[in-house]
C-alpha cells in the first residue's frame, strides 16, 4: 500500500514518545493546575499571610480599680501595647482564651499575670513594666538607636519561594514520571511498547526529556511571579539557578523512576511516593529552617536530596552564593539521582 499524499508527519521514536507525554500532560487540566497554578497560588497566599507590616500592638488587660485609669494612660502612651480595662473575672478569661497576653492586677503595687513560655507575653511584660516604671518616675539612662531590617531577602516570603520551588521540582519530578509509568504498566501499554521495535532507552528517555521541557514553564512561572509580584530577589547567577533546577529535576526524576520501578497499581506507587516525599516535606526546610531540628537529627536531615536542593536554591537566590561553595549540595543531589537511576534500571518491571 502506498503512502498517501495527505501523510501524517512522523518524527523519530524519541520525539514521538516525548510529544505523546507532553500532549497527555497538557490535556489533563488537573495536571496543569498542580504543576503550574498551585505553586503560584501557594506562594501568593503565603506571601499575603506573612507580608511585611508594622508589628501588631500586644493586647494587655488592666484589672479595674483605683489605679486603672492612670495605668491605661501610661500603657497607651507608646504604640507597642493595646491596653483596656476589664473586671478581674473578664481579665482572667481574656488571658486564658488568648485575647490578651498579659493582665496587670488592681493592687497598689501591680503584679503581672502572663504565660512565660509565650514570647509575646514575655515581650509584653518588658514593655508594660518599662511603661509603668517610667510613669512612676524612673528615668532612662540613655536612648538607644534603632536599626530596622525589612529589606527584601530577609522576609519570610523570600525564604519561602526557593523552598516551594524545590518542593515543586520534587513533586512533579516524582509524580510526573512515576504516575505515568505505573499507569502504562497497569494498562499493558508498557508491555505493548516493549513488544514493538522501540529501544527501552527511548521509552525512559522520553519521560526525562518531557520532564525537562516542562521544567521551563513550571519553574519559570513561579520564579517570575515571585520576582515581579513579590519582589523576591535573585542575588546570584541566573545560569546557576537554572543549572541547579535542572539537576534537581533530574535527581527527582531518577527517584521517581526508582519509586515506579516495580509497582503495578496506582495505589501501590502512591504509597511509596508518600513514604519518600512526606519526610522531605517535613525535614527539608520548605516552610521553616532545617536548623530547628536537634543536632542529633542533622545528619539525616542534611542527607535528604530536597534539603540539598533547597539549600542550593536559597544560596544562589538569597545570598548570591557562587558555584564552588554549593558543590557539596550539588554533588549530593547528583549522587541521589545517579544511584536511583541505576537501581531503577536494574529492577525495572517492563511488563
Amino acid at each position: 500500500m502506498a503512502e498517501r499524499a495527505v501523510a501524517y508527519r512522523i518524527r523519530g521514536p524519541l520525539s514521538e514518545l516525548t510529544l505523546a507525554r507532553i500532549r497527555e500532560l497538557t490535556r489533563e487540566p488537573e495536571a496543569v493546575f498542580w504543576v503550574f497554578v498551585f505553586p503560584i497560588l501557594l506562594t501568593a497566599i503565603l506571601g499575603l499571610a506573612f507580608r511585611s507590616r508594622p508589628p501588631d500592638a500586644l493586647p494587655v488587660a488592666i484589672v479595674a480599680g483605683p489605679h486603672a485609669d492612670a495605668r491605661l494612660a501610661a500603657l497607651s502612651a507608646g504604640s507597642d501595647l493595646e491596653a483596656r480595662v476589664l473586671s478581674e473575672e473578664e481579665a482572667r478569661l481574656a488571658l486564658t482564651r488568648g485575647r490578651v497576653v498579659l493582665v496587670v492586677s488592681a493592687g497598689d503595687t501591680p503584679s503581672y499575670a502572663y504565660d512565660p513560655t509565650q514570647p509575646e507575653s514575655r515581650t509584653a511584660r518588658l514593655a508594660v513594666d518599662a511603661a509603668l516604671q517610667r510613669a512612676a518616675g524612673r528615668t532612662d539612662a540613655f536612648t538607644a538607636g534603632r536599626g530596622e531590617v525589612t529589606e527584601p531577602g530577609a522576609r519570610y516570603v523570600d525564604f519561602l519561594v526557593p523552598g516551594l520551588l524545590g518542593m515543586n521540582l520534587m513533586g512533579t519530578g516524582m509524580w510526573g514520571i512515576g504516575f505515568s509509568l505505573v499507569v502504562a504498566r497497569n494498562g499493558n501499554l508498557l508491555k505493548r511498547l516493549v513488544a514493538a521495535p522501540v529501544r527501552r532507552s527511548h521509552l525512559l528517555g522520553a519521560q526525562l526529556t518531557s520532564r525537562l521541557i516542562f521544567l521551563i514553564p513550571e519553574a519559570g512561572a513561579l520564579l517570575l511571579f515571585a520576582y515581579f509580584a513579590l519582589g523576591v530577589p535573585l542575588h546570584g547567577s541566573v545560569l546557576l539557578l537554572i543549572g541547579i533546577s535542572l539537576l534537581g529535576a533530574l535527581a527527582f526524576s531518577g527517584l521517581g523512576l526508582l519509586t515506579a520501578a516495580r509497582p503495578r497499581t496506582i495505589e501501590g506507587v502512591s504509597g511509596i511516593m508518600n513514604l519518600v516525599m512526606v519526610p522531605m516535606w517535613i525535614f527539608s526546610g520548605i516552610f521553616f529552617s532545617t536548623e530547628r531540628f536537634p543536632a542529633g537529627m542533622q545528619p539525616f536531615v542534611q542527607a535528604l536530596p530536597l534539603t540539598a536542593l533547597n539549600d542550593a536554591l536559597r544560596g544562589v537566590m538569597l545570598e548570591g552564593t557562587g558555584l564552588v561553595p554549593l558543590l557539596p549540595e550539588l554533588a549530593l543531589l547528583a549522587a541521589w539521582g545517579t544511584v536511583s537511576f541505576v537501581l531503577a534500571l536494574k529492577f525495572f518491571r517492563w511488563q
Binding site: A7, Y8, S15, A20, V183, L189, K191, A196, P197, R199
Partner: protein, 319 residues
C-alpha cells in the same frame, strides 16, 4: 524488504519444539510443539487458562521459556530483538492506550517505531477508524479501541501478526469487522497466529487450528479435518427426567443406527451421529419402549466445540 536471517529460507514462519513454561508449581505450557507455515492463518483454540497467552508471549519474545526451542521468521530471540520485532505485528489481549491522545496520534506513535510500513491514513481506513482520527482514545467504544490496537499491530506492515483473543468481549458487529480485517490480511498473504476460545471464530478464519488444553496441543488440523475426526458430522442432544435416566444406558444408545459416540452428563446425553434422519426416529422409539419422555431434543452440525468436548469432556467456555 530484505532481511539477513538464515542461510536458507525457512519453511515455517514459526516453529517451536518441547516448549515448557512454569509459574511456581503450575505448568502453563508443558511440552508444546507447533509450526505455522508462511501465509496461513493459524488458530490456537482452547479454554481460558489453557496456556494460549503464555505460548504466544513466548513467541513474541516477551517471556522466556523454561525449556524448548522457538524460531520466529527463521530467527531466534536474543539481545534486544529489535530487528525481529520490526517484522512482527503484536496485539496483546488488552492494551489501554493513553486516554487523552487522539487516534491518529497513537497510530503515528507506533508508526515511528518501524523502519517501514503503512501510512497512518491507510491504517486508519484499514481498521475503519478514518472518521475517528481526531477523536480522543477515551471516547472510543470497546470495539473501536480493539480496532485501534489492531491498527497499531498492522502499522509496520508485519510479515507475521500475533492476535491474542482479538474479539473477546466485543459485540457481534465489532467481531465481524475484526474478522473482515483478518480475512483481508489473509488475501494479502500475511501470516497470522491468533488465539481464541470462540470456535466459530477459529472455524471461519483459520486455515489450521491447534486445540490446546493444559499447555499441550491435543489436536491439530484444518477445522474440517478436526470435525471429521469425530467420525460423524451431526450431534444430537437430549435430556430425560431423573427416573427415566436410570433405565437408559450407553450400550442401548450406542447400538442405535448411525450413532458413533455417546457422552453423558447427568440427565443429558450427546450422541455423535452420521445421519440425523436415521438416528433420531430410532432414538425416540428406544426411549418410548422404556417409558422415557425426552426433553430439549436438539440437533446441530458438529463444530470445533464438539471436537473439544469429545477430547476433554468439557466445554470450551467452562474454562
Amino acid at each position: 524488504m530484505t532481511h539477513v536471517t538464515h542461510s536458507s529460507a525457512p519453511k515455517n514462519a514459526l516453529q517451536c519444539n518441547g516448549l515448557v513454561k512454569r509459574y511456581g508449581d503450575v505448568a502453563a505450557v508443558s511440552g508444546l510443539d507447533l509450526d505455522v507455515r508462511y501465509g496461513e492463518c493459524f488458530g490456537l483454540l482452547g479454554p481460558n487458562g489453557a496456556g494460549k497467552t503464555t505460548t504466544v508471549e513466548i513467541f513474541e519474545g516477551l517471556r522466556v521459556p523454561d525449556a524448548g526451542d522457538v524460531e520466529v521468521l527463521g530467527d531466534r530471540w536474543r539481545g534486544d530483538g529489535l530487528a525481529l520485532r520490526a517484522r512482527l505485528g503484536i496485539q496483546l489481549q488488552e492494551t489501554k492506550f493513553p486516554e487523552k491522545l487522539r487516534v491518529s496520534e497513537v497510530v503515528t506513535l507506533f508508526r515511528s517505531f518501524y523502519p517501514g510500513g503503512l501510512g497512518v491514513g491507510d491504517v486508519l481506513s484499514l481498521v475503519g477508524l478514518e472518521e475517528k482520527a481526531g477523536a480522543h482514545v477515551r471516547t472510543l467504544s470497546g470495539g473501536q479501541k480493539q480496532r485501534l490496537s489492531l491498527g497499531c499491530a498492522l502499522v509496520g506492515d508485519p510479515e507475521l501478526l500475533f492476535l491474542d483473543e482479538p474479539t473477546t468481549g466485543l459485540d457481534p458487529q465489532s467481531r465481524r469487522q475484526t474478522w473482515d480485517i483478518v480475512e483481508g490480511l489473509k488475501t494479502r498473504g500475511r501470516t497470522v497466529l491468533l488465539t481464541t476460545h470462540y470456535m466459530e471464530e477459529a472455524a471461519r478464519l483459520c486455515d489450521r487450528v491447534a486445540v490446546v488444553d493444559h499447555g499441550k496441543v491435543i489436536a491439530l488440523g484444518t477445522p474440517r479435518e478436526l470435525i471429521a475426526s469425530l467420525g460423524a458430522e451431526h450431534v444430537v442432544e437430549f435430556a430425560v427426567g431423573e427416573v427415566a435416566s436410570a433405565v437408559i444406558d450407553d450400550g442401548v444408545l450406542r447400538a442405535l443406527p448411525s450413532v458413533e459416540d455417546v457422552a453423558r452428563d447427568g440427565g443429558s446425553w450427546r450422541l455423535t451421529v452420521r445421519e440425523v434422519h436415521r438416528a433420531v426416529p430410532a432414538l425416540l422409539t428406544a426411549l418410548a419402549e422404556r417409558g422415557a419422555e425426552p426433553t430439549d431434543l436438539s440437533t446441530h452440525h458438529a463444530t470445533l466445540e464438539d471436537v473439544f468436548m469429545a477430547l476433554t469432556g468439557r466445554r470450551l467456555r467452562d474454562g
